[in-house]
């Protein structure tokens, strides 16, 4: 191409090299964090199969490690992975070095610092209790700053580029950068109580809406768009032929960006969310199938004609498999959004399987494919072992299949058991929740085994790359390239989309508009107007002690296993009590509806059991429910309630709209102590030491006993004090 340029342009050639060191840093970090993320995944998988595997250590319990696993997989592994790919590909696509090397280093080290902070704070239980947005506000601010540094470096590079056209991969990167910024900021808004505790400014239904708008679009704009951009660069590169259809890529980009932002509410079907928002979410989720498959087909067809190389070329093999899994999970996603399918699959392991066919099948395989290309290229050497490459591929693929299939079986089995109603008696066939748990424990073992294979595959890959890098020549002079400066290039009459691409700023604005349209129509009405929530004057804010209990509930991550949302279905109301309504959640900062029912719903647990039941159940769940897989929470009987902070907590909650009176705030400590005394009265009666009064378990019990009580009549079987006395 270049030699076709005219003489005059030759004179304007500029010489430059690429900043490959920053890419190498990100590559290294990806490999390390990937192993950590997968190890954590395997650990929590085994914990569901055998509850003892947290070794009785609170920092290792499921509720605290699950967020660490997801954050490590998404932000540490996939994040570092696509940063590596972006830094490499954008410099080449734009024919210029990154805008500023130092900004790249700040981005790198800042991001690693954030991950280290996450690895420390999450096991400690410092969590905002919103999925994939758990990190407390100071870390949230760090994320914002580092993201801005990345954005400045990115757009700076765009402005000093030497390539006039902006290739489609770059659009996907732009969409990633602007959208993630918007999502992160809007979902993170909170009022701090202290350095380590804050309350979401949104409550209940609104918090749910914002959270899943964020949560789904984290999948869309953190795990999908950057990787699609990488796909558009690395697949042509590996196949050594241009993308199958550039036109299709334009349609792919705009329809994906426009449609994705609407899909979030499919996480909240049959919940207390307004019906019309749910319907919008379903419609757009199903529409998403088209652009997703358009992109997949575009990628796969690029490989046509070089299929035979799949046998020997690890890059192509992994990329093609990644695209296949992408196709599978983007088919499954819309399927799961259909309301009747969702009614069965929601809250079950099926969703967990779906997520992993995306994150392992798509993200991990993409990263692997890209690294098989990138590492030999960057370190100017050859892959250490082809054989290990094959072994890597097969262990990963087989492990993933074990994972997906076991979760399908577990999900469908448990979903069917939950809804089974006896035709003749009209009663639940499995009224005991734990029966449905015990039935799927074998599947948990198989899933954990699949996870071990996937982790093993990763370690094989790491070893192979380690050896590759070790054998690389030590000092290589950076390659130099030449290209004319942008302003020196002949300017053809530009028009239409090409002009648009030539103007990154305007392009970015259009992307922002595309994502804001959906966000505004779907979310703003719910945020600005309380009319969607029919009021219920019986619903009162929690007492100070109950709020302390709720903070323990969020700290321990109970919501990763327990929902607080009873869907309007006969089997749910028979099992848990009457359906949940939006009004019940108006003081919930953050909402705790949950996404997976590893254990039963707790929305109306209040009054179902006596305090003593909860006390013994938290210390040893198996004593009360044989076969339970719930972890032991015995530290709650040693740790003291932090009474002193309660006035500050209530004040912060008042700022976000919970109507606590001045009096309630002033007397928070005394009120809480009084309630603690009465809650523990029932425990000390039966022989528990009186010192239990100021222990955390009392606050937690107070909270659990309040759940669903305001809304009236809970379940059919009521074990209240009166009931028990009457029995005697």
């Amino acid at each position: 191409m270049m030699n076709e340029k005219s003489e005059s342009q030759q004179q304007h050639l500029e010489t430059f090299s690429y900043d490959d060191d920053v890419t190498k840093l990100f590559v290294t970090a990806t490999l390390i964090w990937g192993a950590v993320a997968m190890f954590l995944g395997v650990l929590v998988a085994f914990q569901l199969a055998d509850w003892r595997l947290n070794f009785g250590i609170e920092w290792l319990t499921f509720g605290r490690l699950r967020p660490l696993h997801t954050n490590a997989a998404i932000f540490a592994f996939a994040g570092n992975g696509f940063f590596a790919g972006i830094y490499h590909s954008m410099q080449r696509l734009l024919k210029c070095r990154m805008f500023n090397d130092t900004l790249g280093r700040i981005h790198f080290w800042g991001w690693q610092l954030i991950i280290v902070c996450a690895a420390i704070t999450l096991p400690m239980g410092l969590s905002r209790s919103k999925e994939y947005a758990e990190l407390e506000w100071p870390i949230g601010i760090m994320i914002t700053i580092v993201w801005v540094v990345f954005a400045v470096n990115f757009f700076g590079t765009l402005f000093k580029r030497r390539e006039k056209h902006i290739y489609v991969a770059i659009w996907f990167y732009i969409a990633t950068i602007v959208t993630v910024a918007v999502l992160h900021i809007v979902n993170s808004l909170a009022i701090p109580v202290s350095w380590t505790k804050s309350y979401s400014i949104y409550a209940g239904v609104q918090d749910a809406l914002v959270q899943w708008w964020y949560g789904h679009n984290a999948v869309a704009f953190f795990l999908t768009t950057p990787f699609l951009g990488l796909m558009y660069y690395f697949v042509p590169k590996a196949a050594n032929r241009p993308i199958y259809s550039y036109r299709l890529s334009i349609i792919h980009f705009w329809s994906l960006v426009f449609l994705y932002i609407w899909a979030g509410p499919h996480h909240l079907l049959y919940s207390a969310l307004p019906e019309w928002v749910q319907t919008l979410g379903v419609v757009f989720s199903i529409s998403l199938w088209a652009p997703s498959w358009g992109g997949m087909i575009n990628g796969l067809l690029t490989i046509r004609g070089v299929w035979h190389r799949l046998r020997t070329d690890h890059t192509l093999k992994f990329l093609a498999t990644a695209l296949t899994f992408y196709g599978m999970s983007t088919f499954e996603g819309p399927l799961l959004s259909i309301k009747s399918v969702n009614s069965l699959a929601h809250f079950t392991s099926w969703i967990v399987g779906h997520v992993h066919s995306g994150t392992i099948g798509w993200n991990y395989f993409m990263v692997a494919g890209i690294f098989y290309y990138l590492i030999p290229y960057l370190w100017k050497t050859k892959l250490y072992s082809q054989k290990l490459g094959h072994l890597h591929f097969w262990t990963a693929t087989i492990g993933l299949l074990f994972y997906i299939v076991s979760m399908w079986v577990a999900g469908v089995t448990q979903g069917l058991m939950w809804r089974a109603i006896d035709q003749t008696t009209g009663m639940l066939v499995y009224p005991n929740f734990v029966e449905t748990v015990i039935r799927i424990v074998p599947m948990y073992w198989i899933r954990a085994f699949g996870g071990v294979l996937v982790l093993t595959s990763f370690l094989i890959m790491m070893y192979n790359f380690y050896k590759t890098i070790q054998g690389a020549p030590k000092k290589v002079k950076p390659e130099e390239f030449q290209a004319p400066a942008l302003h020196a290039q002949k300017h053809e009459a530009t028009q239409g989309h090409r002009k648009l691409e030539g103007l990154p700023a305007i392009f970015s604005v259009l992307v922002v508009i595309a994502i804001l349209v959906g966000s505004a129509i779907e979310i703003l009405p719910g945020l600005l107007s309380n009319h969607f929530i029919e009021e219920n004057p019986d619903i009162k804010p929690l007492t100070a002690l109950e709020q302390a209990g709720r903070d323990i509930y969020t700290r321990e991550g109970c919501f990763y296993c327990h929902s607080q949302m009873i869907r309007p279905m006969p089997h749910e109301t028979m099992r848990y009590g009457k359906r949940s309504t939006a009004a019940e959640y108006v003081y919930d900062h953050p909402f705790q509806w949950g996404s997976r029912r590893t254990g039963p719903d707790l929305a109306r647990i209040g009054g179902k059991y006596p305090n003593m039941w909860h006390y013994r159940h938290m210390i040893d769940p198996r004593e009360m429910t044989p076969g339970s897989i719930m972890p032991v929470y015995d530290w709650l009987i040693y740790r003291e309630i932090d009474f002193e902070i309660l006035p500050e907590k209530l004040t912060a909650l008042r700022k976000v709209g919970v109507p606590y009176s001045d009096e309630e705030i002033q007397n928070a400590v005394a009120d809480a102590k009084e309630q603690a005394e009465s809650v523990s009265y029932m425990l000390t009666e039966t022989g528990v030491d009186a010192s239990i009064q100021d222990k955390e378990i009392v606050a937690l019990i107070a909270y659990l006993q309040r759940l669903g009580v305001d809304a009236g009549e809970s379940t059919e079987f009521q074990f209240t004090e009166e009931n028990l006395e009457a029995e005697e």
């Binding site: 050639l13 050594n240 241009p242 993308i243 550039y246 349609i251 019906e275 009319h531």
Partner: protein, 56 residues
Amino acid sequence: MKSEVLTQATNLWPQIFALFIFIAVFVGACLWIFRKNSAKVYDEMANIPLEKGQKR
């Protein structure tokens, strides 16, 4: 408000209008992307990843 929105659901015109806009924009974009004489430009762009920049 919920019932307000639901009453709107019987009013088909906004929905048909929205549908029309969506389809019109989509079809318009496709027509434009597949416009005549654009093949050369798209080929050029599709080849960007395969260019290396001129080595010194």
